[in-house]
């Protein structure tokens, strides 16, 4: 799997290392921005269809340009900084959150031949870098000089830090089965059909069947924690609009709010992509070698990730919000024990196969 530097080498052959680096860096950014537009549109439309309405219909055919219009609206809005706010922190916060989400994209292997950075400790890097979002949230919430923001930020910190533990357990479980932290390697191991995916016990023949319940539970645990880590319903207590108006981004407007918005959708993609990589075979085709060329791999990767983004959106428009203490109860008393049991089983599986 030395091929992941293929694109870099290919471009630098014609341009030079620095320019190639910039180009390679732009690809995830472009991906993120395009994805955000699609996700926002998808969220609006799915929400509307569930709620028996049509959603945006005015901007373009079927309202397709609605996210673009929203971006332009946010761009020309006045950028307000509250009087009592801590200005440097207040201005910095949205960018730090966005940074966390963007940096995480750099290690996602979109295809066997393309990962922006072929880090061999990719999973570890993602766990580390996604914790950065907490910093941005607490900075934004505290600097806003608003009590709602402060409560929202405090809730968010306790929530995200707690949920990192079961999330890390899930990732560790898969890592112990794959004997690797390199996302590209993990993806490659799951090639050859969906029965090789780690959600179904990994690539180990028929004898792995006893592992399937544990891996499925592990996947559910990771899915729940991923919802919590991205502050999505039913765990959107930091921004629960019925209690805290808008939580930590109450005071933000204009482009800075757009960054919060973008980061939220970006984080949704990142956690979905991790889920895809560690449980659903990453870029590998679900049908063995069928449609498994590097270009198709990009399609499979994005399709799988978008499926989970859609699942998150679907859940959001179904469920009520939990309370803070129930959220903590769920994390420490349900998800953590479950993930530990599953981790033990998966570690055993890792030793056996």
């Amino acid at each position: 799997m030395e091929n992941h530097q293929f694109l870099f080498n290919f471009i630098s052959e014609y341009t030079g290392d620095i320019l190639a680096g910039v180009l390679i860096a732009i690809i995830p950014l472009a991906l993120l921005l395009v994805y955000a537009l699609v996700a926002i549109y998808g969220e609006l439309k799915i929400a509307s269809f569930i709620q028996l309405k049509l959603g945006p219909m005015r901007t373009g055919k079927w309202g397709l340009l609605q996210p673009v219009a929203e971006v332009f609206k946010l761009l020309q809005k006045e950028d307000i900084t509250p009087d009592g706010a801590d200005k440097p922190l207040f201005n910095l916060a949205p960018f730090i959150i966005f940074l966390g989400c963007y940096a995480a994209l750099s290690v996602l292997p979109l295809s066997s031949h393309f990962a922006p950075s072929g880090l061999n400790i990719g999973l570890f890097f993602i766990i580390a870098i996604s914790s950065l979002a907490v910093l941005g949230i607490v900075m934004g919430g505290w600097a806003s000089n608003n009590k709602y923001s402060l409560i929202g930020a405090m809730r968010s910190v306790s929530q995200i830090i707690s949920y990192e533990i079961p999330a890390a357990m899930c990732i560790l479980g898969v890592a112990s089965m794959a004997h690797s932290l390199d996302m590209n390697v993990i993806s490659a191991q799951q090639q050859g059909g969906f029965w090789n995916w780690y959600v179904l016990g990994g690539p180990a023949g028929i004898s792995k069947i006893w592992l399937i319940p544990f891996t499925v539970v592990m996947f559910i645990v990771y899915f729940v924690t991923s919802l919590a880590e991205t502050n999505r319903t039913p765990f959107d207590v930091p921004e629960g609009e019925s209690e805290l108006v808008a939580g930590y981004h109450t005071e933000y407007s204009g482009m800075k709010f757009a960054f919060f918005y973008l980061a939220e959708y970006g984080n949704m993609f990142v956690v979905s992509a991790i889920m895809t990589v560690i449980f659903f075979g990453g870029w590998s085709s679900p049908f063995g070698d069928f449609l498994n060329s590097p270009i198709w791999q990009i399609f499979w990767f994005i399709a799988k990730s978008m499926f989970f983004v859609g699942l998150q959106i679907w859940l959001r428009w179904t469920l009520p919000r939990t309370r803070v203490d129930q959220l903590m109860y769920l994390c420490w008393k349900i998800l953590l024990p479950l993930s530990m049991v599953c981790f033990l089983a998966m570690a055993l599986g890792g030793m056996l196969y």
Binding site: A47, L52, K147, I151, S242, P320, R321, R323, V324, Q326
Partner: protein
């Protein structure tokens, strides 16, 4: 004397213990502009971390001088003002007022009008409860139930619009009858409406009411014991959720309610479906069951409502109200709504005093929400189901 007051306030059991550490308290202004105060209610909340330690409601942001207005208007002109008290159940507001005027003026109302009035009130009650349940879901963070139930509410408003010409503030009842004749397809529409509401409520039970997250958010929250509820003069679903079997439609049947066969859903201690008697879930559950009971009344109303006869004949050309005073009450969607009407024989009333249900029910909020979390406070407020138009009048 002072001990007595303390006893009544501390009757409710607080199930979340106060924080052991006496940390710095934060005073938070929830409202007047807040997504979940159901209008312009300002709650001055003292928080210890997330736990509510004190709460002071500030009312009056929507005070429209209803009682003062009434003193300067004649009896017919008050009906539109009465509509605007509890604007989501306007017909139910008109009911006691019109009955009070009829009682004072000695107007007899025909049976057809009585049954039609009861049916209108029940359609309106369903419309109100649909909003209350869905808005309660919205308080808990579920947005979809709101729009699901609004579809059914739209049916209800459509029927009432065809009857009265207006969608929200009807001005439909008047002393002696109702303003407009019944349209031809009324019974058919009501039938379709009942079926659609029943289907929607079944769906809603799956989607929201028996959802585990929703149950966890609402059970054992905002406990209102029976004695406290009576002491605070709570009525309607708030009282029935606490196990008080009190419904004016049964205890003192007015209009044509003695002709209908229906039950009063009460969550008595020991007979709860989920949670305990007097919590938020029970209050909401009473509303859910009441929709079913209202459907029953409507079904009977379809058969009872005579086809012949006019509903506008009984309206007196000139309304003469002799001197006297009366307190007339009816079961509004939120509880007991009464009008204390004092007449001095002229065409304008001397004094109109409204016993606003939401006003009385809201008074329990400070004493039942202490010790719960801030998120629970929102749920408790939602479960009381207030309309600020009625609180502030």
């Amino acid at each position: 004397m002072e001990n007595n007051l303390e006893n009544t306030t501390n009757n409710n059991k607080i199930n979340i213990e106060y924080s052991q550490f006496d940390s710095e308290r934060m005073r938070l202004n929830a409202g007047p502009q807040h997504p979940s105060t159901h209008g312009v209610l300002r709650l001055e909340v003292e928080l210890d971390g997330e736990i509510v330690t004190d709460i002071i409601p500030h009312l009056g942001y929507l005070h429209r001088c209803f009682e003062k207005h009434c003193e300067n208007s004649n009896y017919n002109q008050i009906v539109p003002f009465v509509d605007r008290l509890d604007y989501v159940s306007a017909i139910n507001n008109e009911f006691p007022y019109v009955m009070a005027v009829e009682k004072l003026a000695g107007i007899e109302v025909s049976e057809k009008v009585q049954i039609l009035r009861a049916m209108c009130a029940e359609i309106n009650r369903i419309a109100n409860h649909l909003l209350a349940i869905s808005a309660f879901g919205l308080d808990s963070g579920a947005f979809t139930p709101l729009l699901f139930l609004f579809r059914e509410r739209e049916f209800a408003l459509g029927i009432l619009e065809k009857l009265s010409g207006a969608r929200l503030l009807y001005n439909y009842f008047c002393p002696g009858g109702v303003r407009y004749e019944i349209y031809s397809d009324f019974k058919k529409d009501v039938k379709v409406f009942i079926d659609s509401v029943r289907l929607a409520m079944k769906e809603m039970e799956d989607l929201l009411i028996f959802n585990d997250i929703f149950i966890k958010r609402t059970e054992k929250i905002g406990l209102l014991p029976k004695e406290v509820a009576i002491n605070f003069a709570c009525s309607g679903p708030v009282a029935r959720g606490s196990g008080i079997n009190f419904d004016i439609r049964k205890s003192a049947p007015y209009s044509s309610y003695d002709k209908f066969d229906f039950d009063i859903p009460v969550v008595e201690p020991g007979k709860e479906v989920v949670g305990v008697s007097g919590d938020c879930w029970s209050r909401n559950w009473v509303r859910v069951k009441e929709i079913e009971e209202s459907c029953k009344i409507l079904e009977q109303g379809i058969t009872l409502l005579p086809d012949e006869g006019s509903v506008t004949d009984g309206i007196p050309k000139k309304l003469k109200v002799p001197a006297g005073e009366v307190y007339c009450k009816a079961e509004n969607t939120k509880g007991e709504l009464g009008f204390y009407l004092v007449s001095n024989g002229s065409d304008k009333p001397e004094r109109v005093r409204a016993r606003a249900t939401s006003f009385v029910n809201l008074a329990i909020l400070p004493s039942i929400s202490k010790g719960y979390m801030f998120a629970d406070l929102i749920m408790i407020l939602g479960s009381i189901d207030i309309v600020l138009g009625e609180v502030d009048r």
